[in-house]
Symmetry: C2
Subunit: 383 residues, 2 copies
Amino acid sequence: MTDSKVEFLYLNEEDMLKAGVLDAGRCVDTMAEVVSLLSKGDCLMGGRGHNDHGIQLIFPKKSKIENFPLDDSRDRRFMSMPAYLGGRFHMAGEKWYGSNGRNAQKGLPRSILMVTLNDIETGQPLAYMSANLLSAMRTGAMPGLTAQYLAKKDTKVVSLLGPGAVNKTCFMAYMAKFPEIETVKIKGSSPTSKTAHVMKEFIEKEYPSVKNVVVCADLEEAIRDADIISEAVSVPHGKWPKIKPEWIKAGCVVISSGTMDITDFDFMREKMTKVVDNIHMYEEYIQVYEERDKDGSRKPSGTPGMYFVNMIDDGLIDRKEVYHLGDIVRGIAPARVSDDQIFLVSLGGMPILDVGWGYECYKKAQELNIGTKLKVWDTPYLI
Amino acid sequence: MTDSKVEFLYLNEEDMLKAGVLDAGRCVDTMAEVVSLLSKGDCLMGGRGHNDHGIQLIFPKKSKIENFPLDDSRDRRFMSMPAYLGGRFHMAGEKWYGSNGRNAQKGLPRSILMVTLNDIETGQPLAYMSANLLSAMRTGAMPGLTAQYLAKKDTKVVSLLGPGAVNKTCFMAYMAKFPEIETVKIKGSSPTSKTAHVMKEFIEKEYPSVKNVVVCADLEEAIRDADIISEAVSVPHGKWPKIKPEWIKAGCVVISSGTMDITDFDFMREKMTKVVDNIHMYEEYIQVYEERDKDGSRKPSGTPGMYFVNMIDDGLIDRKEVYHLGDIVRGIAPARVSDDQIFLVSLGGMPILDVGWGYECYKKAQELNIGTKLKVWDTPYLI
């Protein structure tokens, strides 16, 4: 029974680099396919509603038990994100990762991520891969795709709020689709922020066509004149960027991949065209994770997509006023209709993105004969 | 920065065998530790309530989309089960698997499972292992542990309802704790069931001390005289075993790892001592997965633990009447108080079990220098 042999391909980070994981342009194009499949319903995520972001181990703030892991550093959690992606992908998979803000002190990324791809029929693993780059690239590719469809054709100025790994890959994706970008404004935690200056050096070195790379003194400087505002901030509530409407240039696309402080809900409701990756995901997320103050009022989530759901629930906007990026890509929802139009786009991340970009890297690795083949069994011990 | 190197140990099925995954006695003892930690609150599972069994990809019965995977075979699903386990384990991990009833035709197990173990601090993978045997053994060890604490000391007769992989490992665990078992009654889908006869041959070959191994003609024959009824049946509703109260011997422990048809709720309420692995898990599960008929009445789940929750919700029993196995192991809930006492025990499976037994196999593999070390990176490309 040769059929019953199970093996899979292991791809470490070096293998992933060889398999083209950093190809931002191709990643954006793949994400266009993925969100189109989402728009067609040709995919599946977790839970009864088929739209769960994932399942999380939530650590407590305190514990009486010795050595119990606590929610005591930035993003400390474990998360599993399973999905099926249809179309030409026709594959299941999941991303599983642990995060801890203290990893930086050890020379490690905050999150360490692995992706498994599985045969949709038998369930067997086909690939197991280091997914830090995969995940960063697919996360950046979504703002890139958003910009490709919604930013003005003559986009020249990009603002990066939060100069971390996410905005690095966002920027790679913007450049893949808008090579004529001239000015990049960087806003870190302070004007002397190390990551802000590392980002500046990265851009100056890798993208010599960009004429001006400015580390901004304050948020207003970063926002003014930007055609694309790329928010990828991961900080506690209280430190979220507060963007004032009067700073935003007409025609700007505000893309939120992290958290931000919405200061003017009327402006958001009336003047910004609202777009999300997947409204159902925010609905599901609110059901499980939305926190309330003692008086019953919602704690702010910092995520525009969750505010959109809150506003729908409160009757302030209609569900039809929130567009899906995949519908826009497919041409069944409107893209930009005027040069002045301002967009607010919320991207929360979905496991189908990991399966999509993971699949592409896996196929490329197979083509180039990269990686380590590993056996699970020749014949299973127990049937 | 040698610190920033990340590598893990890969263990295929052969490695797992060498690392002692089939040691049923040690697995039962490990499960005693695991459920004790659960009883102390020194563990964490997924979701806001910290008690989710896992997150599932639920395939639809029908789809208009070409090639969409359907719920068209037994157990077809994907599932991710993450957990943290405390105490001396102090480790996170998850089990990720795909199942499809059609795998049997291909010489493959119905489910193909992999377990990852992760450093609780950094989140990095420590081990990635073939988990078919791990999962089968930990699943069987829980009934073994149940029997160890609740079955009569002079237990001689075991009834195996559903002679599949689960009951095989259950039996291994019973024998580890009750080597004086004399009679095994096997009930398969029919008296000529192939798996029933394979089970009979397995027991006769591996456990010569067992004097009588009987493939039973009907359910009544299988139930009568049994000291332990070990139910591990995975069939559609309508085929669930219907156990009549009058068949059950005084002093019997009925252990359900699968699905069964409860025919007499009064008997269950009044005459059976109710025990579960984790009542919170069934409560969470009901919240997400319980199905209702069009008239609003509950569809039967076949899982005693879910019936217990239903009965608590309906005010038919008190929550205190349902005991936790971990509390019994720790001696803070009563074990058997009389020779006549009949128990109904529901075991649903928890990801902490996989982390517990996975940890033991991983440690043994390290000790014996088994497995393949794999690098994720020497230094991460992106921090």
